[in-house]
Symmetry: C2
Subunit: 409 residues, 2 copies
């Protein structure tokens, strides 16, 4: 129970709110900002001046001035190329690193294939750091990196970014964020978060979930991850482990799961199970998304075995979704990663199971959708997370990063 | 994205914060308030003066002055007997109505047995309204009723308090809150909310969950309800249907459920199933809590059939809890209503199933507890909900209620 904020806290809050507005919604006139944020224009001018001085936004004449008489309202534009973050996405088969500018534009990116049989975490760190350094070399000399975050397919403890459980990429006890941060040498920490949690935030802020404050994001890679937005905020739980939908048991006594239990959603709808049902486990050349897509394509062409495999998986996926609909009453359930393909190939089964297993009231209010950010959902989520500090307290964070003790790049 | 609040909003927020503090934590000195709320003492004095003028608190010398030299700090005390709410609790077998004072004290109460075979909603309304009127007759003439709320065992739509699904008490299309409000004639609305949702809030604010911002409350009456606190706030979902844990399918193809699905948690651990397993369905004289307690007692005395029935139910309950632990990473799971008894009679099975089906990381952080408010959990939740308006904007709400157009009692 805290009382209302001080004047200085109000100013910081307003600076962050204005910056977040142009970051998420794009350049905006002073008039639009004043109206949208409920502040008068002199306050907007003062805030914009502070953000301009810090190098976070610039003001310019609108490219297409309106028809209204009089002086056009200046447009406030985020300094997209000068202020950026590093976003890392560790997929089981694919590593992606991007330099993302304030405003959300992906300025530059690197992707490499990851070898599933690699069990040396140094390979992972080496590949991510190498790609990031190559991106940074191409960044302008007056640009500044304001944050970095890694999306990881595992359960991550919020207090120290430690990976507690992540059977699909071996990292042992390695403090992945710390090691990566040292390798980058930027003097800024690299936050590590669950990939599906970040995907949920990305879809909520920039994807299929914009405007929907209660949504569930299901992410398929090899396993099944989840991220849940409740009342506009990510469900983290007590320690940041929240959203492990993949380990909700949907079929007691069902298929064994990597977590040690049986019949988890992940065990019933994960990649290995789908491949198994489709009789594709003998083709080790085809794994991951390519293998899943091949099954969906085969089913489309009338392959009975592929279709049956998708139907079996879709029925369990539908039961999992029904449970989530009952427990969360979400406005949206979004399927991303390989679950995007699996859902598209089994939508009828998913919907049919939701129809029989979810209560009418929440069922009639939920929409099922695929991730709008496509393969970049988790990467964009990492970028948004990396921007969090500067959006919370823009001027202070920039001052710190640009001070002699801080590290400007 | 809103900017920071105005001065007037700050004042209202501070008034509400101060009033909420003494409402939930009891009388507090000005010094304690200043420190706890992060405000200076002159602000506390001004706020207290406003609340005193509105008749919401009074200031008095501490009953046991401290040993410190100098003038003792005045103690701010909620006007418990003059400012109250009406709390209604519609259990399947028991109706409870209470007059609850600001500060949370139950000033007076009425309880009546409800006949399960009654399908006339007018019986329900009549019994609740009659009990409330008898309570109000005993209230002081200078007292004021500032809100009313009803805990109901069903899915309730937040926008209009309509009951969407509630198979255990028949109300049809009746707008229960509106009808009850008219019967009371107080000129104040009667909010209707899901009983387990209210129970979760009550345990969070005044029970086993104080200080824990991520918790799950499971409520057994005939069926199984749920209320979930995420980041300190009730999970309502898009329409207020959130928390229907009882209709999470734990046993696909299992026992038929009143919702039309099969193998829901409610179908596997509800009262009828327990009685069925225990071979007690032939004793129609013993129903509800009494019947559940009789089975727990029999198991305690070594009755093998009763023990086996509890074990079967406890295993499904454990699986449901394991799923919730994985999805929510809660600090606490609290068992209330008849699930309190069932949990106490099957804790070993519940814990064993959680041990095998929940991920280690969240499992090691969760505690399982019984409701600290006992049989009053949902009733207290209704009272807290009824206080919400006056706590959000104390002076305005009181002024409105006491104005000639408002209705003072």
């Amino acid at each position: 129970m805290r009382a209302a904020p001080s004047q200085e806290e109000v100013r910081r809050h307003n600076l962050g709110t204005l910056l977040r507005f142009v970051h998420l919604r794009g350049p905006a006139s002073r008039a639009t900002l004043a109206e949208s944020l409920g502040l008068n224009r002199s306050t907007i001018m003062a805030l914009t001046a502070d953000l301009t001085a810090a190098g976070l936004v610039r003001e310019e004449l609108p490219r297409r001035p309106g028809r209204r008489a009089g002086r056009p309202s200046l447009v406030v534009r985020p300094e997209s190329t000068r202020v950026y973050v590093l976003a890392f996405d560790a997929g089981v088969d694919r590593l992606a690193v991007a330099r993302v500018g304030l405003g959300g534009e992906i300025l530059d990116r690197r992707e490499t294939v990851r070898d599933r049989s690699s069990f040396d975490p140094n390979d992972l760190v080496g590949a991510l750091a190498g790609a990031a350094r190559s991106l940074m070399r191409k960044a302008g000399r007056d640009s500044v990196c304001v944050g970095a975050a890694l999306a990881f397919p595992g359960t991550v403890r919020r207090s120290d970014d430690q990976i507690m459980f992540g059977p699909n990429i071996e990292v042992g006890d390695l403090s992945l964020g710390d090691v990566l941060s040292r390798r980058l040498g930027l003097g800024i920490p690299v936050a590590v978060r669950n990939d599906a949690n970040l995907g949920a935030q990305a879809e909520h802020e920039r994807g299929a979930g914009v405007g929907c404050d209660d949504l569930i994001y299901l992410h398929g890679d090899v396993g099944v991850g989840g991220g849940i937005i409740v009342g506009g905020r990510l469900l983290g739980g007590q320690d940041g482990f929240g959203g492990e939908i993949g380990h909700m048991v949907v079929n007691p006594g069902g298929r064994p799961c990597a977590c040690g239990s049986r019949g988890c959603l992940e065990a019933e709808v994960g990649e290995r199970t789908l491949l198994d049902h489709a009789g594709r486990e003998e083709r080790p050349d085809l794994i991951g998304r390519d293998a899943v897509r091949a099954i969906v394509d085969a089913a489309d062409r009338g392959d009975v075995v592929a279709r049956d495999a998708l139907h079996r998986v879709g029925t369990w996926l539908g039961l999992g979704v029904a449970n989530l609909v009952n427990v969360f009453n979400p406005g949206l359930v979004i399927f991303g990663g390989t679950l995007r393909d699996i859902y598209l190939g089994s939508a009828a089964q998913v919907r049919s199971k939701v129809a029989t297993s979810a209560l009418a009231a929440p069922r009639e209010r939920v929409r099922l959708r695929t991730a709008e950010l496509g393969d970049d959902t988790t990467l964009v989520g990492a970028a948004e997370f990396a921007f969090a500090d500067v959006l919370a307290d823009p001027v202070q964070v920039l001052a710190r990063l640009r001070s002699p003790e801080g590290s400007a790049v």
